[in-house]
Symmetry: D2
């Protein structure tokens, strides 16, 4: 096997004072944080579509990045070279997981059987490379949005033929994920939504979506796939409205269709912010429902209105995200997948490394900060103090379901005006700052 990235050696941890952009300053894979190795807390994954298939093309311009191993063709041989480069990249980066869409790793054929055959061929090699390297598949998924057949949706397409085609494609993608030992399977409904309500029967489309997910869940059991099925919310783009708008919408939809036991959520930072939420809000919403399954670790530009999928570089945001994760006892079989792409102008392979290292360091520092905050405990205690009135007396009566409006009126009349108490927001913010390095 030739070396695809000859100029760069395995990235090492050099500590916070290092000025080497090709070294970790905070991510120290085997360092123990709250009783667990950093790598087991963070479970980083590389996103195949961006890192191996990203070309720098955007709606206003063509490809800017040409990788030496990629001849631009749709051949199996080219697909294999990309795959091998992927494993080399991950080994050098020190990341143990990757994620892919079916069509990222193997070319779509002229027919479904041909596509399946292509996929099968590549999966065989992937399996071997996984065995050789110890690199694992965090999750697989099917691309149901790039091909023109899906232009009006996959499971929510007005044409039942497309629904059936999508079902066949997901079936295969689930099989492949199982075959590669994937720990989860993700649904991002790239075109599940509408461009205009004028031509859309929204209720019917949503019923079809539920039907599709139900079949997927059945098929998971049928083939013995033990991983989680994850839905990834996004509010808009490419469709004007996407049905899986945000965490709350998806949770409500799943509950409304009796599907909440079978699915969890994969929360992406940039998708949350496009919906008007902070990253930590959508993480907390999913976590509170017991449905935070995995994370797409990226960031957007909050002053722009589209998904920029940038590498996470904000320490405070990473700290808040890791607080949610640690508070729920870890991300389980999920992980932090870098659904992030280098900017169109960052055309070198070194940029690919720099970007991932920067993101890994940001989350590593976030993890350390979050662990410090939890261990120290003062912020949590301040929150607990705010809610102390619920631990006994009328608060406890309300929570236990023993109070009614009539009783509460009596109580309120007897106790008069409540005493105002400061929310202390700036104190919380300032304390957070003092615990972030």
């Amino acid at each position: 096997m030739p070396e695809f990235i000859p100029g760069i050696k395995k990235i090492k941890y050099e500590g916070p004072d290092s000025r080497n952009v090709l070294a970790f300053r905070h991510y120290n894979a085997d360092e123990i944080i709250m009783g667990k190795k950093m790598k087991d807390h963070l479970r980083f994954a590389v996103a195949y579509w961006h890192t191996l298939r990203g070309s720098g093309a955007d709606p206003f311009g063509s490809q800017t990045m040409c990788r030496p191993w990629d001849d631009g063709s749709d051949s199996i041989a080219n697909a294999e070279r990309r795959l091998r480069a992927n494993f080399e990249f991950l080994q050098k980066l020190g990341v143990e997981y990757y994620c892919f869409h079916d069509r990222d790793i193997a070319p779509e054929g002229k027919t479904l059987p041909q596509s399946n055959k292509n996929l099968g061929a590549i999966v065989k090699i992937a399996r071997q490379l996984q065995n050789n390297t110890g690199i694992k598949l965090l999750w697989g998924t099917a691309n149901l949005f790039s091909h023109p057949r899906y232009m009006c949706g996959a499971s929510t397409n007005p044409d039942a033929h497309v629904f059936a085609y999508a079902a066949a494609q997901v079936k295969k993608a689930m099989e492949v994920t199982l075959e590669l030992g994937g720990e989860n399977y993700v649904f991002w409904g790239g075109r599940e939504g509408y461009q205009t309500l004028l031509n859309t029967d929204m209720k019917r489309e949503l019923d079809h979506l539920a039907r599709f997910l139900s079949m997927a869940h059945n098929y998971k059991k049928e083939i013995g796939f033990k991983g989680a099925l994850l839905i990834e919310p996004k509010p808009k783009e490419p469709m004007r409205h996407q049905y899986d708008f945000d965490a709350a919408t998806v949770i409500g939809f799943l509950k409304g269709h009796g599907l909440d036991k079978g699915f969890k959520l994969n929360i992406e930072a940039n998708h949350a912010t496009l919906a008007g939420h902070t990253f930590e809000h959508d993480l907390q919403t999913a976590s509170d429902a017991g449905m935070l399954g995995s994370i797409d670790a990226n960031t957007g530009d909050l002053l722009l209105g589209w998904d920029t999928d940038q590498f996470p570089m904000d320490i405070k945001s990473c700290t808040l995200a890791m607080l949610v994760v640690l508070n729920q006892g870890g991300i389980g079989a999920g992980g932090l997948n870098f659904d992030a792409k280098v900017r169109r102008e960052s055309i070198t392979i070194e940029d690919l490394f720099t970007a991932h290292i920067g993101g890994m360091d940001a989350f590593a520092l976030g993890l350390k900060n979050a662990a410090r905050i939890i261990t120290e405990g003062s912020l949590k205690k301040m929150v607990k103090d705010r809610y102390q009135s619920w631990e006994s007396g009328i608060g406890a009566a309300i929570e236990s379901g023993k109070a009614s409006f009539v009783e509460l009126e009596k109580w309120a009349l007897a106790h008069g005006e409540p005493t105002p108490r400061s929310g202390n927001q700036e104190k919380f913010e300032s304390m957070l700052n003092s615990r972030i390095i």
Copy 2:
């Protein structure tokens, strides 16, 4: 009873060619549209808080509007004058409904008993005025956001004391709504949300919110209130995050807590757009769930990021809203409440009339357009055609639950690539334009 608005007589319908801004050009109350009077389709209501209590104050400046009947005091006498002016305004405008918060119509006292007493005194007069004029209460509600005690929420306050106080206040407001024959009772959670997650236990607060709504529902049955309980979504403002974010979030929350049978939604245009949705999207979402109970008819400025509560003046938007209403068989016991305020600079009483007339005409024209579109049927037929594949064959099999991934794969392999079909968005848009006058 003195005349409060001596300069303006009852507003008349003068037809589309009228240039009189104090006449209706489209709203002709008794005109029959699709078998029903316009007034019974539209069920317009005036919002007491804006129209009778709006002062023109904003975060950057003080009161600009001084009504001759309002001495600015918190006296019962002043409250009565406002109430009488309200009925005169509605009679002259030809609107049959109004809506209020408890604290709009009667001053808050120093204690809850005093507040209740004030409210009782005014309600007695309101009842009499309703009887005299035939004007009715579309819905009542409690203001749980203006008083400092509610600064950190009412039912989601960290202090159980505030929850109890809010319960007592809502109890009274529900009684008063019943007493006045109110056809609905609304919950807008003005401060039910958070300013920062740092100091917030979101899960606990949401559980308290569900508990509160459950008590309200029980109390409704206890006192024999037959109207609907309506929740009004809003995504943000005043709180950074409001729990009743949008229609989908509220529906999901209600279903998740087993409350969906007891509540419907009151959808406001400007709240929907602040959440990133079109007005018609949130109406359709509520309607599809069988939960569209009433409408707050206003509009926002889509290029601004706060709730401007402007009077609806966009004919296309009103048409699309009325299409949802007509398609679900009418708004039932709900109505179109003008939760809209004249601009701070529109300081005359004539402005109040002009604004309401403009909004009523916009919705009247929207109603006529929607009726025309439905009667003509071509747009609906085009939508139906898009989904024809679901009426038989594999589509019907999927919808009836008879298909699985395995069967769909077989079918897809047998049938090959779907035939692409245009979404025809511009055709739909153009046809809509040709049916709007």
Copy 3:
């Protein structure tokens, strides 16, 4: 010459009651409005890049539209077929102008001389087709954003080599525009901006931009090009920040560099709204500076944060735009260029027609409405009345420069508190509605 679009005949005017989506309901080219033919008021143009080169590809998916005449190759023969199809499309649509980027009409070669040769070959044919059909070039421009060489800007690129290359390309594009009798030449700075300030010397880049425009202006005089040079503002996308942010920014930049006499503006609706302005605001800003040269007639979705380039379908917006145009005495040698693309799902040629017809009808109706409003005069009179205090007395003294703070203080002390006067916004809005059909 074979017929490229055999199924569709020349689009006719059938009047407002027509239900034929392949006919005009409002656009009646030779109808006289305020003393001028509609076609001479509106001067519609088709945008070559969207209509002839649009493929339906977006960041999440590949081409959906396959025109029968387009084999997808970069050959001159294919370019010629597209060009011929363009002229047939315009003839059938009844539009007299088109606009292009150099690289839209002819393929980029491996070298600049090859690209210039390709362009020359196609321009020769275009000239002939223009002569045969009477169709004219509203404006030409150079594409300085799609090729990877321009990824960090053209005239604002950190590399002077790219600046020089861009200069050579614009030089040729200006020559070609002159050769084809183009009535204007446009600069849209697709990549003139930055992605991050961290790696950017903004001041230096802006100075280079001014230098570039100055050279263009010199070259215009050198070759005897009589048309206007137009700058098209856009605030963001593809770059995070675009230097030509909005009309006010561009006007200020031009004035600051002494270039305002040599340039006008091409205002695009969707670009204005991305900057947080209404379409009419940026039109008025340019018009007030005497710099409104031409218009990109499209619309965006105000609830989305990217440039959707939709066909204009909102009658009120078109009315307000045409009011600005009529109030400044017409668009001059500019026009209304449909910088709009059919949705990715609108894959038929009929969709191309329907979309343009819908947009033309919207602006035709907007023109008629604007003419009616101006002829009737009441809205203008109401505005004039608001400012009457400036026509004499202290107002006139201020405007003529005769007053100072000292004198105004004296006057203010003598005259006391001003009398508040309503802004009557809802009255204006309602009157506007009554004058829009």
Copy 4:
């Protein structure tokens, strides 16, 4: 003089490891950074309107904060108590500057002479307190937006009477600022803009604005005020459109009216972000024009659409801001004014301290980071390297004005395709992170 804030002593510097929220962790006033004391770099100021006059009221609710020294009345005695509390607060906080609007410090009277008299009385006390404490006035300004007379603008009001009144008010405010040794005078055009273009003559209003500023500049010279006149941009709120939209708009406006020599800018973080810019973008834009005069140091919530005026707590943002300041050689006679308010729920006086301390620490750390980055020099060097092609050869020829399109075409033909070079955004971001503590 009684002590107004008995519970809190002078805030001390305790160093980064302190867990005391009533101590500085980073702000060490006399510590030398790059040859200058921190306090002289930062020149912090307290905003009187928020800190002394903020009540917690918002559009949805009434006052939440009651200071013990403030009886809520409009009396001079109350105004004096507030003023004395202000000086005590600043002394305890260790801040040397404050800023005010005329109406913040003294009550508006029934007439202008009465208002002026009230102001004069308070200014006399302020002067004495300044002398006693060494606390200085960073800038003064006039409130031309709160009183109803200004509802449609001050200098851009349709009524010339209001213009004259505003002139008289600003005249007095400038005199008072001079009297108190104010180092700058600020114009924030709170209502200088429009709510709807329909009722507005924008060109005329902008001409009036220029006239007003010109008079102010003349009056400054007349009275011998040596400080800078500063304009503070804001894009919207309270008006739908504000004329001083952003830095670029204001600079262009000033240049277009020949006023750019007489004015500088006061850039506010939250105003920049409401305009779609980063804080550092608007700072850099002003600085590049030589017009960055002072800073309103706050932050907004980028996911909300209104001015939240929060205390700055983001270290990266403060670092980038201080980079602009240090790179231009300091803020001069300007400063960092905390135009920030504690949240409505932060009702204690301790919250006022915590918030200011948090903001001061954030900017102190930002200053240290910026100094470290500049001293180390590697980021600046990387930027310089990107632009090296402009230092000689064709780049230098272009910059010196010696090149034309004809020459550049020759050069480009001779030199062929430019070599692509990475923008390295992630490397820049990662290096920045490694230099921020």
